[in-house]
Amino acid sequence: MGLKSNLHNLKEKYKGKKMAPAFNALHTFLYLPNETTHNGTHIKVADDLKRTMNTVIMALVPCLIFGMFNAGYQHYLALGEIEASSGFLGSTFWTWDNLVVGLWQVLPLVIVSYGVGLAVEFLFAVIKGHEVEEGYLVTGMLVPLIVPVDIPLWMLAVAVVFGVVIGKEVFGGTGMNILNPALTIRAFLFFAYPTWMSGDKVWVHGAVERDQMIAAGENLDAISGETILGAYAQNNSVAYDYWDMFWGIIPGSVGETSKFLIIIGALFLIFTKIGSWRIIVSTLIGALVMGLIFNGVVDMGWIGDSSKFYGLMSVPFWQHLIIGSILFGAVYMATDPVTASQTNKGKWIYGFLIGFISIMIRVFNPAYPEGVFLAILLMNVFAPTIDHYVVQGNVKRRMKRLKVKTA
């Protein structure tokens, strides 16, 4: 007999025991269970929570694979061993060597993220005696994509425990959480270990190590992998053209660089009706509006090129969408159905403010020129309030209509 019946037997054996949720979770994750109801008519819906989660993961896989190649590419490029790739299909990008470095660096992140996160989930399910929730499937995939490639694994593990416990389990588990768990994990890393989450070294594999070797007295050239936002924030010139940014062959967190693949993922999510197009579109509009305001400030001459904000403020407004992680945040983070606004009007407000605040933080944050994750976490907190007022507004309007009719 196959794995399925083995799992089924295990499940029967442990029914009512403490470990039952763990086996149930494994079984239903892999297979459709055999149990059927014997009376009454039931409507079978295929798009349950696991299906939803799997769809998002499918949309993320291209970003992950690209991230692996990019990790290797940035590493070898910084070492000066390969030529810069020309465009998305450049001959020096999709190479075996790049992939090997990527696998070596990125796969451990994925394994730690899933291993630790699911362990916490299983632990809580066993303690609380309920079924294991699927919530971590997407979070576990998002986490490796939004951290720098060289982040030490133990830090990631600590952050995952914190994010899952404080970000989700204390509120009652999947579906009850106020904050996006993946972003909680990133925020924890950012505030706890800022030297590993910002600066111009951590984005390229090997740069930190190289620095340590130089400090130890070896005669080597330092390599650096400044992000584009980092360069703008220092009023430096940027060495990448717009197509590089669009294709994603730039330094950055593992999975967020390729805007091209994110857009494909976004279309997939919108087409399968998993992601809300209202949130995605309104986030981008919000970002563009804030970008336009900053451009306006520069055009009016209110701020000179000696200002420390000049570099980021003078970025053409549309370019804000292809640098940094605003697009990734809008597509995969802001649309999280649990933490976003639920009402359609609320989604427009919620998304717009995310984009607006993201760019504001990006420009004004002196320590770290990016603010997408902070903006989304902030709006996660306000999402229920937005919904409340949208619903109340609707109630009021209909009450008025009723009064007119009855009068």
């Binding site: 030490p152 133990w154 830090m155 600590v158 404080i166 204390v170 924890f188 505030f191 706890a192 270990y193 800022p194 030297t195 590993w196």
Partner: protein, 214 residues
């Protein structure tokens, strides 16, 4: 307990656990967040509150029959303010560095809800000895939480305890740091104090379901 009757002993024991001023009554949170980044500051703050609340409760209790109830808050404030000024001056005289770390928070003991709360709820209606025990008990309950939070925040945030490095030297890379361990900067930020207090509340209510209110 030969020294104290059962009822009196409860005055000290209750605030330590099941009626803790911070985790159950959620009073005095402000200072618990502000000064617990170092264990030493937590301890000094605890001792200060112990002194102010113990003595203050006795003074209010002695005066309880002559305070006109219309102006009792003002009288209470004067008593607290006097005691806090004594603490502040003592700290400035004998522990100047520490008084700078604690800065305004010593002065803010005046507005610490635990103190006014105990004056109102207990000292105004009970004799000096019981009021004294109540004051000590509540101050100790406050101290326990402050010291737990301070312990974890200093240990994980700075790798030290009472200023003594216990996890090795982060610059020389000895001890734990040799393995790539790094201090958690988040621990030094105030939000983390709130989260640590939250975890204490969580643990406490999981152990004693009677404390869960809905």
């Amino acid at each position: 307990m030969g020294l104290l009757s059962k009822k009196d002993a409860a005055l000290i024991k209750d605030p330590l656990a099941d009626n803790n001023p911070i985790t159950i009554q959620v009073l005095g949170i402000c200072s618990a967040l502000a000064i617990t980044a170092e264990l030493e500051a937590s301890i000094v703050m605890s001792i200060s509150v112990l002194f102010v609340l113990g003595v203050g409760n006795v003074v209010i209790s002695l005066m309880r029959n002559i305070i006109p109830s219309k102006i009792r808050i003002i009288v209470q404030l004067i008593v607290v303010a006097t005691l806090v000024i004594i603490v502040d001056l003592v700290l400035k005289a004998f522990a100047y560095e520490l008084s700078k770390t604690l800065s305004v928070f010593v002065g803010l003991i005046i507005t610490n809800c635990i103190i006014m709360g105990r004056f109102e709820a207990f000292a105004l209606g009970n004799g000096p000895w019981r009021s004294f025990l109540d004051g000590i008990g509540n101050a100790l309950g406050y101290a326990v939480i402050l010291i737990i939070v301070g312990f974890f925040r200093e240990l994980l945030g700075s790798g030290t305890l009472l200023g003594i490095p216990v996890l090795g030297d982060p610059i020389e890379k000895t001890g734990l740091y040799a393995f790539g361990y790094e201090n958690n900067g988040f621990m030094l930020l105030s939000p983390m104090a709130l989260i640590v207090v939250g975890i204490i509340i969580w643990v406490q209510r999981t152990r004693n379901k009677a404390l869960v209110e809905d």
